[in-house]
Symmetry: C2
Subunit: 408 residues, 2 copies
């Protein structure tokens, strides 16, 4: 059995790195705080007897040998980066649950047949650098390495993921990808309200919904807010405001299950008495059924065309990122379900609303995920919280699912 | 007669300081570029025999003595700061037209009865620091000095107007305000399309329309863009988008003459996959009739309340700045009209759509303004342009209006 208190203590210790006054964590990818978190993880892994390597996109792999040193590893992990208003559990839980599995095996002096690896994926959040899941995406061959290294900082022009990884000493020497992997399991907080509403402790994640992200640039004409008659304006912000409202309405019109969000906006020149000449904003569409995502895409393009025409502006709608709804591996899902049943944790099947590194790992290895509830279903918020008993339960399920796989 | 080519050459030389690739100027208040512009102006004034002083909010006064050294001065000027996407004429034209008046009087070896002063007002644009017209406002007693010194940079937390003025060496020793002033004249490009549409060269500015500026903060709840159902969201950006659209509709509903603009937006945490928890934006309302501004105020508050309720967010609507429609002094307006008529420039009466330092000077001295057309009525834009002949005509009218006042 895993040691829930030790896991909780490690989570709280990691949560101090980037801690915010409101009780959350801001540890953006490839910042010095990210380095501090990585350093702590590496030290803990080395103390637990693992050998640690870093690949060229900064993914960290900590390996505990198996009886059969050449067998493909059973891998687990997640990410240490957070949102700007992030919490103490999103990502870090999956990483430290992996560490707790290793520590538990060490305590029991237990050797698995296959090696075990704990992985920290780079820039999972997609907040400082977009899109999300960059480290695992490159690992899985979704993009080549240069795409990852060139990702620009969304707020500070001139900075790139590659440059920032080098600056914090985590642009490693290992090639990205190709580590023989028997299975990949990832533990994570649900980040939504379903498990809590249904009073379950464990979510057996059967797959993840699809996502489409867009970058939209609306161009009008800068002019003076005072002497420029309303009728002569080509206001890029008025156009964008209508498009942002439309994104929300598209989400509402495709219920149940559709999500539609504008999270990032940059107004130019952003001066109180100048009519905005350009607005850049992003759109995040999600749905478990690909055909609905396609329909939402059409609705978005139609709305943008309408509001651009109405305001005399031009809208460039660029699809920036896409992955289809992704089912996980049946054997891995079963391993999770059986581990939950055996431990008698109340559980249910669930589809992930968030993207996770597991989504990309599913392209190169049999993959499963374990969810635990979070308070009020709130994540990407400093108030993000979870119960110690649920956190322990998810780790316990992770241990047994991994053992099944590593010895099976 | 003024030397139009010399004035144009000075404008072009000043326009190199902060020149942008698109042919505009970005010389934000109290930046090092602002210092360079101020230094050049001071050098030119000293070369023209003026004595120069700087007051504690950075306003610069260059004085040419009159026959009667104790007579109240006839003052002219404007500002050297620009919008982020500013042009080569907004503000700087009024300053260098004043310099051209002095140079012309020097060439003719002409001594006026009253002294002449050219003034550069600090932070007229209200873009880097808000509100607008801060230097002239403090001069006129609208705010006390500390209000001006404490104005925060709208984009860089921690910087203040006072600190930045000190850093560029323009927090002068002179007390702010109280210089005996017989009349104040300001030449400016119109910044709107009326003179061009009417094929006039000179606008006799009879007054300025009123303005109300707001700061609106909408607070919702940050949450994950993926697993958070649409119905559970409290999206501060969706609320704000509807309010921004409403601002535009309020402007349209109060035609003719109303203007309504949202120019500045800050989204928090501004992360692509986090539902925005807070949005700050500004509103700029203008109208020549105060009662209509009051009606627009009510419409704004009602719209914000509606959309906040609809989205489960809270909206704080703070009136940030206000000045009522401001008529200029009848004698000054007549001096301008007679100077234009005498020179046989096609002219018309006009109300200023923009705020100008003249609006605050009108509270402490008889004040008038002279407008010249700008290309397509476009200002606060790098393409801002004006005809050399119009620029010269405005300066000619300024010279004669000032002479009438200085000798009358
Ligand atoms: N788990 C998580 O917050 N991932 C970020 C990628 C996404 O927005 O789905
Ligand atoms: N002239 C000018 O651009 N002034 C800025 C203040 C305003 O927005 O009216």
């Amino acid at each position: 059995r895993i040691d829930g208190e030790r896991l909780w203590a490690s989570l709280m210790e990691m949560g101090r790195i980037g801690a915010t006054p409101k009780g959350g964590v801001c540890r953006l990818a490839a910042t010095d705080l990210d380095r501090q978190g990585r350093d702590l993880f590496v030290r803990w892994c080395e103390e637990a007897g693992c050998t640690v390597v870093v690949d060229r996109i900064g993914n960290i792999f900590a390996r505990r040998p198996g009886r059969n040193p050449d067998a493909p590893a059973v891998m687990t992990g997640s990410h240490l980066d957070t949102q700007p208003t992030g919490g103490r559990f999103d990502g870090v839980y999956g990483v430290l649950a992996g560490l707790e599995v290793v520590r538990t095996l060490n305590d029991a002096d237990y050797q698995t047949e296959a090696p075990i690896e704990i992985v920290v994926w780079t820039n999972e959040e997609g907040s400082r650098f977009s899109p999300a899941m960059v480290g695992s995406g490159i690992y899985a061959g979704v993009w080549d390495l240069s795409y990852g290294l060139e990702r620009p900082d969304n707020n500070e022009p001139g900075k790139t993921l590659g440059g920032e990884l080098a600056a914090i000493g985590y642009a490693g020497p290992e090639p990205v990808g190709g580590r023989p992997t028997k299975a990949y399991f990832e533990a994570h907080i649900e980040q939504g309200p379903i498990l809590e509403d249904e009073e379950k402790v464990i979510g057996i994640v059967t797959g993840a919904q699809g996502q489409r992200w867009y970058e939209i640039t609306v161009t009008g004409q800068e002019a003076h807010a005072g002497p420029t008659p309303m009728k002569k304006r080509r206001d890029a912000l008025v156009a964008s405001a209508r498009m942002i409202d439309a994104v929300n309405r598209i989400g509402m019109a495709n219920q149940p299950n559709a999500c539609a969000t504008v999270g990032f906006v940059r107004v130019s020149p952003n001066s109180r008495n100048t009519i905005p000449g350009q607005v850049f904003f992003t759109v995040d569409f999600r749905h478990p059924v690909d055909a609905v995502l396609t329909k939402m895409d059409e609705e978005l393009r139609a709305a943008c065309a309408t509001f651009a025409a109405e305001t005399g502006t031009e809208a460039e709608v660029k699809e920036f990122w896409y992955f289809p709804p992704t089912p996980f591996d049946a054997d891995c899902v079963n391993a999770v379900r059986e581990a939950a049943a055996q431990a008698q944790f109340p559980h249910m099947d669930i589809i992930s609303g968030a993207g996770h590194d597991a989504v990309y790992m599913a392209r190169v290895a049999p993959t499963g995920m374990i969810f635990v509830p979070c308070a009020d279903g709130i994540s990407h918020n400093e108030v993000e919280d979870a119960k110690p008993s649920d956190i322990a339960a998810g780790c316990e399920v992770l241990l047994h699912a991994m053992l099944r796989s590593a010895n099976g």
